[in-house]
Subunit: 193 residues, 4 copies
């Protein structure tokens, strides 16, 4: 039962964080004659909305899939999960920053670092739960565990790569992030539930 | 079980998007003497609140009814559903735009296009689920499926019509949208659950 | 099942509307020396937060209690419920108005009219459900139905009274509203669940 | 059943209040050259986000754990719970204040007083439920009740201490608050569920 309440609370935070993203799309005060160029100039904010919406969705789906394997929760895992939510709830801020300063290096690094930290905490949660099958279903095979470990690893590599290429071209970081997300959505999921 | 968590998450996004709409009603700073005219001048924002609240409600009811027919969800359907939510979560933005520039063509077109895209994605989700009864209850009859197809078709026609008439009178587009919504609410639903 | 999803969605809108109220408490930019008087001057916004929080809570508790009697929902009752939520979701706006123009008549009338309309729609929902025991438990006695009718009636009287006294003293309307809320919380509820 | 709906509603308010905190992190309009110093200057807002996120999490976990012991709810306990939520929903405001005036005494006192009041109301809820095992499981031992009482007592002491030291150094209050939170997270919970 406790597991389900933690799940519901997490879903709430995911759903709110994802829906608050739209508040970041703000166009400056303008008259109707200049509305079209103003709107066109706001496309990086639109891109940020789409990107963060999809990335938070990815985290939600992955949270969902991992919780499917989990049988119980304990005190430390609750707090790790809340730490994960702290980072999920933070994502609207770097998204806003990136929309305000499109294709600049600093916001890209802050954005990717937030995603990297979120993913690392997710990984720590997962290892804590999976270690010796502490919280997960005893039937989860070693092969499944390794496949999930590998998923976290690949995603982190992409985030590090996105940070790396930002030193040459912040726009290229966007491409790396987009590619990463596309791969996550299209590949065969590590766990099929 | 997975179906229910996707449903809960979707409900969360619908509920938040619908409740955020009120933040769009903003009256400019004024003193009490000029409050009445300021409030009266804000009626397009009020209209926008009501219209978008009802339209998001329509999507929610229809989402709800279709999910009633669905027996399971799979990886592609989760992502189509999340894409649908991306558009639902976006609706507050064109609503704000239309409140800021009432009865102007460009915001009307952006608003109707958002609704059209939302509906098209809903239709794709539905066809994916219904095709060969992939995800829906095997007992759903061909007649029911055709009735639902037809519903999507009619609603899209209305959105296209609203975009079309905006070239002559954006105010007429409001009427088309209102009529469409009224018809959806008053007609016998395609599926009775 | 459909009943429970309508309940969950309504709970979501109630919870979000109630939590958005805090965004209405905004103090003007100031330096630390003038923070105390600025904060003290913001007390009407604080009062508005408390009042609306309690009133939305009252609606939620009453929604909750009435749904306890309901056995099923149908197409019209879903749309009446959504109309109710449209008014619940609107409450943050007149609350903000009343905080901005404390103890002025016009915001008080708009605020009370919103509450009155919300309550009237709640009453229509209730009569629709209770008429001939259309949607409610067949075991609900006539006496219970009359007690609930009477509750709606009394609350509406209070709102009308609050509007009435605003013509003499808007501050007195606050007292009427506060008294009404206090009575609702303290009296023996019409239905004990 | 009623217990579960109160729990869900409370979870909703907790989840929304915690996710709204991110809206408090606002950096002033700036050009890219001055972005780094502007961001660095915003660190008290970041600290406020983390602190309030963790503290609301603490309240949520404790709410969750206490509800685990509760078997039923009644009219007074519903309203005490809603009063608790009123204070939870208020937390974003003093958090914003503290972020705007970092390390100043007045915001610290307002912040700590809010937390103290929240905790006191939580304590009253708990005593009401536990007294003569009014609402809690009859199997809850006196020792468990005393341990929970003691937890509330200690946390309140810390909040009073934080208010006290603010007269000498508001920064020290932050340390006291942080220490308190760390202790709550790390110690063996009063109830293990």
């Amino acid at each position: 039962m406790q597991k389900s309440r933690l799940e519901t609370f997490s879903d709430g935070v995911f759903a709110i964080a994802i829906t608050l993203l739209v508040l970041n799309i703000r166009i400056p005060q303008t008259d109707y004659e200049h509305l079209l160029p103003t709107l066109l100039a706001a496309w990086p904010q639109l891109l940020g909305y789409v990107m963060s919406f999809v990335i938070v969705s990815v985290y939600w789906v992955s949270h969902h899939n991992l919780f499917h394997l989990i049988r119980k929760v304990d005190h430390p895992s609750i707090w790790m999960n809340l730490l994960l939510l702290l980072f999920i709830g933070f994502i609207p801020f770097p998204t806003a920053l990136m929309g305000q300063f499109p294709f600049k290096q600093m916001p890209v690094i802050i954005y990717c670092s937030t995603l990297l930290a979120t993913n690392l905490i997710g990984f720590i949660c997962w290892k804590y739960a999976a270690n010796g099958h502490r919280l997960i279903d005893p039937n989860v095979s070693r092969a499944t565990i390794r496949r999930i470990d590998f998923s976290f690893f690949i995603v982190n590599l992409f985030y590090l790569l996105a940070i790396g290429v930002s030193f040459f071209s912040p726009a290229a970081s966007y491409v790396v992030l987009g590619l990463n997300t596309l791969l996550i959505i299209l590949r065969k999921p590590a766990i099929e539930v």
